[in-house]
């Protein structure tokens, strides 16, 4: 985040969110601070039947004192319903954004755009200011520059080349990277929710000038591959291209126990991939370490 964008913020109030389909630059362009949360908390802290990630997100998002808003999307059913817990248990204003599963017709793209506009009105309601077309475009260019740094940083991994795939991760789940480093694995592709899979497409310069909101729609809704999408073929197309480029010898799929969309794809991915895949349930104690270590050893 550059100083220029930071100076645009009207206040240091955070807008807490986690879903990659929420454009950070849309929040920033409204003069508020996008705060994409990686939830903290103890992995043993669970709520019966509730996805541990959702549980910790709710705790973290609502526990941040200076947040002016929490944004949740419909990408995950548990998160959608978790929004109601926020309404009941937290005073921070909540925005629940409809992000559609379907994407192969104009109706869906149109709704994502209208949701962005509605989100913009919400941001104005919590202290933001509607940006001009030029300010929005400028903000988008800055954020894109930041993402280019992220993309480039992935290229110098050392060790047995592995690809990560899967959903969102908590602070505690980042232990996976330490385990990998210790056992000689190197991440050449990060397809988790915090990784390059969920980076929006690069903006079209002409689009930025003519209709930056549509450019956000195209870059986010039009390009982020995810297993919740119907059909989810975009995920497989992305994987095919990214894995070939990465040189990964194996895929480590990281998911939380109630994440149906990733879980249901494990078997299909195993059949489809030309390299081995290991399914790792995050928060499963020492099993996480043992599975990863054994996998790296096996493909090494």
């Amino acid at each position: 985040m550059s100083e220029v964008s930071r100076s645009l913020f009207l206040s240091l109030s955070d807008v807490n969110y986690t879903c990659p389909f929420v454009p950070a630059e849309w929040i920033a362009a409204h003069g508020l601070k996008p705060n994409r949360i990686r939830p903290s908390g103890d992995s043993s802290d669970v709520r019966a039947g509730l996805c541990p990630y959702v549980h910790r997100f709710l705790q973290t998002a609502c526990g941040t004192g200076d947040a002016c808003a929490v944004v949740v999307t419909t990408v995950c059913d548990q998160m959608r319903r978790g929004a109601e817990l926020i309404r009941c248990e937290c005073d921070t204003p909540l925005f629940l954004m409809n992000v559609l599963a379907t994407w192969q017709n104009a109706n869906a793209w149109g709704l994502y755009r209208s949701e962005l506009v509605r989100f913009g009105r919400f941001l104005e309601g919590v202290g933001g200011v509607r940006p001009s077309k030029e300010d929005l475009a400028e903000c988008m260019v800055e954020y894109e520059a930041g993402r280019e740094v992220t993309r480039a940083a992935r290229l110098d991994a050392k060790g047995v080349p592995v690809a990560l795939l899967g959903g969102p991760m908590t602070d505690a789940d980042m232990e996976v990277f330490r385990i990998l480093e210790k056992c000689g694995g190197g991440v050449v592709l990060d397809g988790t929710e915090d990784g390059e899979r969920t980076l929006p497409a690069r903006f079209n310069r002409r689009g930025l000038r003519d209709d930056p909101v549509q450019e956000l729609v195209d870059a986010y809704f039009g390009s982020i591959p995810d297993p919740f999408r119907r059909p989810n073929s975009m995920l497989y197309m992305w994987l095919k291209e990214s894995l070939a480029r990465s040189g990964a010898r194996g895929v480590i799929l990281l998911r939380h126990v109630w994440c149906d969309n990733w879980h249901a794809e494990v078997d299909r991915l195993r059949d489809w991939l030309e390299i081995p895949l290991v399914d790792v349930v995050l928060g499963a104690g020492s099993a996480v370490q043992h599975r990863i270590e054994a996998f790296v050893e096996a493909i090494g």
Binding site: D77, Q78, L96, N98, L100, L111, S114, P227, N261
Partner: protein, 465 residues
């Protein structure tokens, strides 16, 4: 004096069938003794207790012969449409076409119960990586893999978006097995914002006009797919006629529910009422016969109410049941423990509400789809439950959690809180697997606790709002 009716166990059905047949009972083509269903593998029936009337026999026979009806429809040249998840909207469209028969492959979720796991569908789902952390609807994946429980549809349509992740993920796997799916989006129903036009939906909820318009366009894509597979262009007039018949079905069902829930003594056991309610979602593959079955049942129940005939103790606790139960046996169990059903919300209340007839048909259907209790907030759903529970005089609410379902963890908690706050009546959650026999002591204990608490509340007069 009230006439006390007794349910019969399965082993008494043969004798009962002979009595009914000897008494001049006229049966439809799918009629016959109950035993043949058990002989065909539906062994759970031997653990159930039944309403022994001819109307009930007809209802059960109608339900349990659906597969034959689907195969006959295909042989007669009709195209089979598998509609998934929306529970009540797309079948109204499909049956508006003279060439289509629609059913819900989702219904396979009861196969593990009805066949007491002998069909092996859950094991097949396991082998495909869809294990018990998913809801029992994973049996549908097994049914598609075996192709043994229903004819593979000529067209598959599935609503996605604001639906359970379990279902959406499993439907994607069905697609991956080589069964193409037409996906249509049902967005999360949100409250209208400031300045937005408000549309009232069936069931009393509201949505912004823009969402109704969006769903209408989605259903238009469904309509085009139906046109194509049926080789018949569905006109607005076809749809209006189709909505008219669907409304007749819904009207009979509402009457059946009202009679059953408000009678002094219970005129229809919960199991038969559950099955009757299920007919509304896709007409059990024969729309006209559904209407006839329901009318027969309504007539039977009305007669019982007028004569004061009924089941169970007169002081049975009036329980509102939330969510369908994976093991039908548990419906009987509630009644054995001293309850009776007075109010239900089996995830498809929008399939029972009247479809508006004074607006264009596609908009009417869009409003129905958006009225689905599962696509909106839990708060909306809880409000509806409270309203209905109040209307039917429910004394307790039972939330039946579906194992592995993505919505249940939060839902039961919030529904319970709302009910306690608004109605002051006891709420208990249970979780029921497809065959619950090993859990019966635990379930009985929880049901006893609910019934006893409701009785205590009744005695002290502390319940109610």
């Amino acid at each position: 004096m009230n006439q006390h009716l007794e349910q019969i166990p399965f082993e008494r059905w043969d004798e009962r069938y002979r009595t009914l047949a000897g008494g001049g009972m006229v049966e439809p083509a799918y009629g016959g003794p109950m035993r043949r269903h058990v002989d065909n593998g539906d062994t759970r029936l031997t653990s159930l207790k039944f309403d022994a009337s001819a109307s009930s026999l007809r209802l059960w026979n109608f339900l349990l012969t659906e597969e034959e009806r689907l195969r006959a429809a295909r042989e007669s040249g009709r195209k089979i449409v598998g509609t998934m998840k929306d529970l009540g909207t797309v079948p109204v469209m499909a049956y508006s076409s003279p060439r289509l028969t629609a059913f819900y492959p989702d219904g396979a979720w009861w196969i593990p119960c009805v066949m007491e796991l002998d069909a092996g569908l859950l094991e097949i789902a396991d082998s495909l990586g869809v294990d018990e952390s998913f809801c029992p609807v994973r049996a549908m994946l097994g049914a598609f893999a075996t192709e043994a429980h229903f004819p593979i549809p000529d067209l598959l349509i599935c609503s996605v978006g604001a639906v359970c992740d379990d279902f959406s993920a499993i439907a994607q796997r069905v697609n991956g097995l080589g069964h193409p799916v037409v996906w249509w989006e049902i967005p999360h129903r949100r409250a209208p914002g400031q300045g937005e036009e408000i549309v009232r939906l069936p069931g009393g909820m509201t949505a912004p006009r823009s969402q109704v318009g969006f769903v209408e366009l989605e259903l238009q894509r469904v309509r085009e797919a139906l046109d194509e597979v049926g080789g018949h262009r569905l006109s607005d007039s076809d749809l209006v006629d189709g909505i008219g018949v669907a409304n007749e079905v819904r009207k009979e069902l509402r009457e059946l529910r009202h009679l059953t829930f408000t009678a002094d003594v219970c005129p229809l056991p919960s199991l038969e009422l559950l099955i009757a309610e299920m007919l509304a979602i896709h007409f059990c593959s024969d729309r006209e016969e559904t209407l006839a079955v329901l009318r027969d049942l309504v007539e039977e129940v009305r007669g019982r109410v007028e004569s004061g005939a009924g089941f169970f103790r007169a002081d049975a606790v009036r329980v509102f049941w939330v969510n369908p139960v994976a093991d039908l046996r548990v419906m009987n169990l509630l009644e054995e423990r001293g309850g009776r059903i007075c109010g239900t919300e089996y995830l498809f209340s929008h399939a029972i509400d009247e479809i508006p007839m004074d607006i264009p048909p596609m908009e009417a259907l869009a409003r129905v789809a958006l009225a689905d209790p599962m696509v909106g907030s839990i708060a909306d759903r809880a409000e509806r439950i409270c309203r209905d529970a109040r209307e039917f005089g429910s004394e307790a609410v039972l939330v039946s959690r579906i194992p592995g379902a993505s919505h249940c963890a939060v839902e039961g908690h919030l529904v319970g809180n709302t009910v306690r706050k608004q109605l002051g009546i006891p709420v208990v959650e249970i979780e029921v697997p497809p065959v619950s026999d090993p859990m019966r002591p635990t379930l009985s204990t929880r049901l006893d606790a609910l019934i006893e608490t409701a009785r205590a509340t009744r005695a002290t007069g502390n319940g109610g709002d």
